[in-house]
């Protein structure tokens, strides 16, 4: 287990982490999710020992490592921009940590080959990082981090520098890898979809604080704060409350708690239909519905309808 307790970190006048405490269970894949500047990368670097906290304690597997250099923490770290050793081949990159640990040559060779097999880079041993694509470089970096059999794998926006398609592939691949290797993993990301897709626990961070920690579904369905609600998905404001657009129900006639609205525009997005509305206070909101429902209501611009929330929402 990784435990952070009461972490504070300043960069000059900037208060990057404010009394952050979190526990990350063994074998989990936890995402630190938040906008840029929320402190998520700083927290990861503090866990790694790449930054020293001003206050607070970091413990890995029950040992206080706060004053330990990164070398002694038993971690693997993957950087957003790969941090590939440019002057070394793929083989030497992956073997680096093992050579530092002075493992026997034969053991290093077989371990490197095994890892490259796992990350799908078998046959690339002799290449240099400059001869690899971005996705390949990041998989090499992962193999390099895993080679030393870390207790904890820390990933700092590992897919942030890749294009959308590669990012999605690597995401699925990482999930599968984690299911096989089971190493405790912390992933930093600003992409809520990525966090929901990969992680089994998400910690949402904002302005140097952790807003909420939990399973992706719990965070989505029961957000503790407005920030968590709006960061994890689209929102609409109905009667002064935040709701998910797909929880809005449209009807022709008045119903309990329903609010009268005017349809401004109807956007057909394949299966789903977005209905842009304006309420009595002249505020805009959009509801998400299906083709069938939209057809049943015969929705069109200029129409007057009623809308209500299907599920209890977060008070704004």
């Amino acid at each position: 287990m990784i435990a952070a307790h009461g972490i504070h970190k300043h960069y000059g006048d900037f208060h990057a982490l404010r009394d952050v405490s979190i526990e990350i269970p063994d074998g989990s894949l936890t995402a630190l999710l938040g906008p840029s500047g929320s402190g998520k990368s700083t927290l990861l670097r503090v866990i790694a020992g790449l930054e020293a906290p001003d206050e607070g304690v970091i413990a890995i597997a029950g040992n206080d490592v706060t004053r330990l250099a990164p070398q002694g923490r038993g971690i693997g770290f993957v950087f957003q921009h790969y941090a590939a050793f440019k002057h070394m081949t793929v083989r030497d990159n992956v073997a680096f940590g093992l050579k530092i640990r002075k493992r026997p040559k034969a053991e290093i060779a077989s371990r490197v080959d095994e890892l490259l097999e796992i990350v799908g880079l078998a046959g690339y041993q002799g290449r240099y990082p400059s001869q690899l694509s971005g996705g390949q470089r990041q998989r090499m970096a992962l193999a390099r981090a895993l080679a030393v059999e870390p207790r904890v794998l820390l990933l700092d926006e590992p897919f942030g520098a890749l294009d959308a398609k590669v990012r999605e592939d690597l995401r699925k691949w990482l999930r599968r890898l984690h299911d096989e290797v089971h190493v405790t993993t912390v992933l930093v990301t600003h992409d809520q979809e990525e966090a929901m897709d990969v992680a089994d626990r998400i910690a949402v961070m904002n302005a140097g604080r952790i807003e909420q920690v939990g399973a992706p579904r719990d965070l989505y369905d029961a957000p503790a704060t407005e920030f968590v609600m709006s960061f994890l998905g689209p929102t609409a404001t109905l009667g002064g409350r935040l709701v998910r657009p797909h929880d809005l129900v449209l009807s022709r006639g008045p119903a309990e708690d329903a609010v009268p609205v005017t349809v401004e525009r109807v956007v057909h997005l394949g299966f789903e239909v977005r209905v842009e509305l304006r309420d009595g206070d002249d505020a805009q909101l959009s509801a998400q519905t299906t083709r069938a429902e939209a057809a049943a209501l015969d929705v069109e611009a200029g129409q007057s309808l009623f809308v209500r929330a299907e599920r209890p929402a977060v008070a704004a």
Binding site: K9, H10, Y11, G12, F14, A16, S36, G37, S41, T42, G49, L50, E51, A52, D54, R67, L68, A69, P70, Q71, G72
Partner: protein, 292 residues
Amino acid sequence: MPRPATDAVGGAGGPGPSLPPSAPVARRRSRRAVGGVGPLGLGVATLWLSLIVLLPLAAVLVSSLEGGLAGFWDAVSSPPAQRALKLTLTVSAVVTVINAVMGTLIAWVLVRDEFRGKAIVNALIDLPFALPTIVASIVLLALIGANSPIGLDLVATHWAIGIALLFVTLPFVVRSVQPVMLELDRDAEQAAASLGASNATIFRRIVLPALAPALISGAGLAFARAVGEYGSVVLVSGNTPRNQVASQYIADRIETDQPAAAAAMSVTLLLITFAVLLVLRVVAHRRTSREG
């Protein structure tokens, strides 16, 4: 994410001793754990620069003021000192102007013209930088010395000093103007031509203003180099009191055991050089702030 702006202890970046993993690390605000330069590395760097560069120059400055400001002034305003200084500045200025013109012309030929062997000519420009100054001196002596193949014995004249300085300062303007000329916006020139401007007008109104900062910078560096030049001049100037540049005057004073006079002239030359470099920095700064 803002990067921390502090130093680190036991950084992995510098060749300093690393702390064993269990050693307690002094905690301080916002320190960087890895990839910095420790206070040890900083200390070594500072000590090195002080010992090799700063202390000697401090010794010159202090020696020049041993007789107070009056002593300094006496040393610099003595007739031989004045003569050497005047000669140095005059010849350096003329040489700088000539090489500003020729350097711009050569840069233009290297960028806009095409001919066989251009790459060799381009490489040749660096020759004065690569050649030891004393070799430059003896090389020029072959050209304008007693055995001159063109019957031009200029040794011990101002001309000889001028030619030596032309030789060693040739690359400065070429190498500072050339890259700017490569980047020059030819569309602006074509636009001017389409508006009926002659080549002379285009050069004066469009090209020259764009080159000016690089030209001034190259010329300034050439002037600074010329003012302090010694090796290339030493064999061709004849080193008579009449035909002695400032650096020769300094060497002469130190050899004849007049350290205060040598130091005073040294400080004067340094001040002139620094003033030139300071002006260049201001020019460059104004340029970047205008274009930025």
